[in-house]
């Protein structure tokens, strides 16, 4: 049933349909309305037997999810920015404990200076946690991704946390027509959670052991292997979703105009606008294509190698920066295609802290690269020249 809803609701409603047992969250802009929607559903008795708990902090929320997940519950939380960073110690731990926690991150900048607006610095800081990360383009994709996230995370070949990343404000606050899922459809797609192991007095097991040097490394190797397996599990789940929902969001990446000489690579909501920009530039005669990275972890190495093998120029638009180097998506992309493509890489950090990225701005970047006005390497785009004054 198609309804015009905000991004918040598209997530909350989908979470409800996945029948989680325990939801713990702490409010933070721009995630708040997701958990407010869930709290209202809980207050109205619409979440079945689920427990909804308002935590004392994001750290507390994530900690409760560790306990609940280990006890065999399907769990959910949402957060972003400072909240995600505050959760980070718990999330690293949860990944190591192989708990299939699903969370939504409503991407927001990091402090200082304080900014409530959108970029990808928060989730990028969690890159090495052992958490799967998928970036969605619009609220329908966010809505559709929740059941898929549970199905991937809870697969016994995977058992890792899954973070759905959606751009704060740009998606969360946006009203869009969303084809809301039906309960029966979600029920048949996503069976009840059957944990591989869980805390029960009927068969006591210990979770969260400590591991001396003779055994620690094996646990971490196992995490990497789980991530590798997740690549295939995700593709299966994405495909199944396309069949049952009729909406095919593609694989780990999607490629528009695969025979192009120039490619723009981006993640998240900006992809929608880039589609329009690319279309217009192609009408001008520019050979430009678009690559949307959906899965950032596990990283789509083979897919990018294949897509970029004949490319001449690759423009990576990062919504984040690894200070002292460049944008993280660009770093990873370069590493992935090294030896497989001779393309020049143009790495740009754009739209930090909610800085606007209008159509003309994006078109100019692509046009300048095409016309040889830019040099390969890293640059920020869309900021005002300034002189830092250190008193």
């Amino acid at each position: 049933m198609k309804k015009v809803v905000r991004g918040f609701y598209s997530v909350a409603y989908s979470v409800k349909l996945c029948r989680p047992n325990v939801i713990c969250a702490y409010p933070i802009t721009p995630q708040t309305e997701i958990v407010e929607n869930l709290a209202a559903m809980y207050a109205n008795g619409e979440l079945g037997e689920a427990e909804y708990i308002t935590a004392e902090s994001e750290f507390g929320a994530a900690s409760m999810l560790v306990g609940a997940s280990a006890a065999g519950a399907r769990v959910f939380t949402a957060t972003c920015s400072q909240g995600l960073i505050l959760m980070s110690e718990v999330l690293f731990n949860a990944a190591g404990m192989r708990l299939p926690i699903v969370l939504v991150n409503t991407n927001r900048a990091l402090s200082a200076p304080l900014s409530i607006w959108n970029d990808h610095q928060d989730s990028m800081a969690m890159r090495d946690a052992g958490i799967m990360q998928v970036y969605v383009e619009n609220n329908q994709e966010a809505h559709d991704m929740i059941p898929q996230a549970y199905k991937v995370a809870e697969n016994k070949k995977v058992l890792l946390p899954f973070m759905v990343c959606m751009d704060g404000y740009k998606l969360t606050h946006a009203y869009e027509p969303v084809d809301l899922l039906e309960q029966e459809m979600v029920d048949s797609f996503l069976p009840p959670y059957e944990p591989a192991a869980y805390m029960t007095t009927k068969k006591p097991l210990a979770f969260g052991c400590y591991a001396p040097p003779h055994i620690y490394m094996e646990f971490r190797v196992a995490m990497q292997q789980a991530m590798e397996r997740a690549k295939d599990v995700m593709l299966d789940v994405f495909k199944e979703w396309a069949e049952v929902s009729g909406r095919d969001w593609g694989g780990h990446i999607t490629v528009d105009f695969p025979d192009s000489k120039i490619f723009v690579v981006a993640m998240g909501s900006v992809v929608g606008l880039l589609r329009k920009v690319v279309e217009e530039l192609r009408n001008e005669g520019l050979s430009v294509g678009l690559i949307k990275i959906r899965t950032f972890r596990p990283f789509p190495v083979e897919e990018l190698r294949e897509a970029l093998k004949d490319a001449e120029k690759v423009i990576v638009l990062d919504r984040s920066v690894s200070f002292g180097y460049e944008g993280p998506v660009s770093i990873e992309l370069k590493s992935a295609i090294y030896g497989y493509s001779s393309a020049e890489i143009y790495s740009f950090a754009v739209g930090l802290g909610g800085r606007d990225m209008p159509k003309d701005f994006l078109a100019k970047i692509i046009r300048d690269v095409a016309e040889g006005k830019e040099r390969p390497g890293f640059a920020f785009k869309g900021y005002q020249e300034f002189e830092e004054v250190i008193p």
Partner: protein, 294 residues
């Protein structure tokens, strides 16, 4: 030992296994154990050497109360509450310092959990650094007795009052020196629906600088001097106090332990002992510890 035992690596004389076994036995092993990082975790949960006969989880140093709240919420949501009690075992630093945020949250929401604080009065696992529950005058590696300072300056944080102030239904202190007291309080605690807090004084032979053979004696002296009053609060009201017949001077407790030994030679030692005696006297007054002679 059915619920906790073979494989644990505690020092001889350590109070932790005594407390843990007493708690688990009192509840017939119907326990989901949640443990913070610390000595207990290290001596009992090494991969391949798990000493726990009950379902056990360790996540981080500072989130045991949160993890326990999550286990409890899951059991509630999945109608499995009759499987057992959710019991936290956390050290004094994990409780009163780094983990007080999640603890306060769990108290505030009144999760149906029993929180056991195993109070050995410092970060003993990492080699005796001061915590919020380290008493004044104790020489630790981060508050060493030096030429100027006589060990820790400041008070032992009053976690009992902090717990009571949260309005949780049951709060008590106990001691490894009195296992029957631990047993009774644990059995009583779990009858209350909601968050329960029991702080158990537990000797650390290496940190305190005592021989394992006198650990129980030292634990009892803490109670007999009034420095560690054994009290019980139900719904915020003081309902029982372990009375002391002839309250001993604090020196008798202090002189047996290396952590306080400097107080008998240090320039400011006398003053510190006087302060500790004052705290013991205040405890006696506040809780009515002294058994009045007829």
């Amino acid at each position: 030992m059915k619920y906790f035992g073979s494989g644990h690596g505690a020092c001889p004389g350590c109070g932790l296994p005594i407390a843990v076994k007493t708690v688990l036995n009192a509840l017939d092993g119907k326990v989901f154990a949640v443990n913070s990082t610390g000595c207990l975790e290290i001596i009992s949960s090494q991969y391949g050497k798990n000493a726990w006969g009950v379902p056990y989880i360790h996540s981080l140093f500072e989130n045991a109360a949160g993890v326990a709240a999550g286990v409890e919420a899951a059991l509630r949501a999945m109608k499995r509450k009759d499987e057992g009690y959710v019991v936290v075992f956390a050290g004094d630093g994990a409780t009163a310092d780094i983990g007080i945020g999640t603890l306060s949250g769990a108290f505030d929401r009144n999760h149906d959990i029993l929180y056991i604080c195993l109070d050995n009065e410092a970060y003993q696992n990492t080699g005796h650094q001061q915590s919020g529950l380290t008493p004044p005058g104790e020489s630790t590696t981060t508050t060493p007795a030096g030429k100027v300072l006589p060990g820790k300056v400041g008070r032992k944080k009053d976690m009992i009052s902090i717990a009571v102030a949260h309005g949780v239904p049951y709060v008590a202190s106990s001691s490894v020196g009195y296992v029957s007291d631990i047993r009774r309080k644990v059995k009583k605690a779990v009858k209350f629906e909601g968050a329960k807090y029991i702080q158990i004084h537990s000797p650390c032979v290496t940190g305190w600088g005592i021989d394992g053979s006198i650990a129980i004696k030292v634990a009892r002296l803490a109670v007999e001097t009034g420095l560690y009053p054994l009290v019980e609060f139900e719904h915020g009201k003081l309902t029982s106090v372990r009375k002391i017949k002839d309250r001993k001077p604090v020196e008798e407790y202090l002189k047996l332990q290396r952590r306080f030994r400097h107080l008998f030679t240090h320039e400011k030692g006398k003053e510190m002992i006087k302060l500790l005696q004052r705290f013991a006297d205040e405890n006696a007054e506040r809780y009515g510890l002294d058994l009045k002679k007829e």
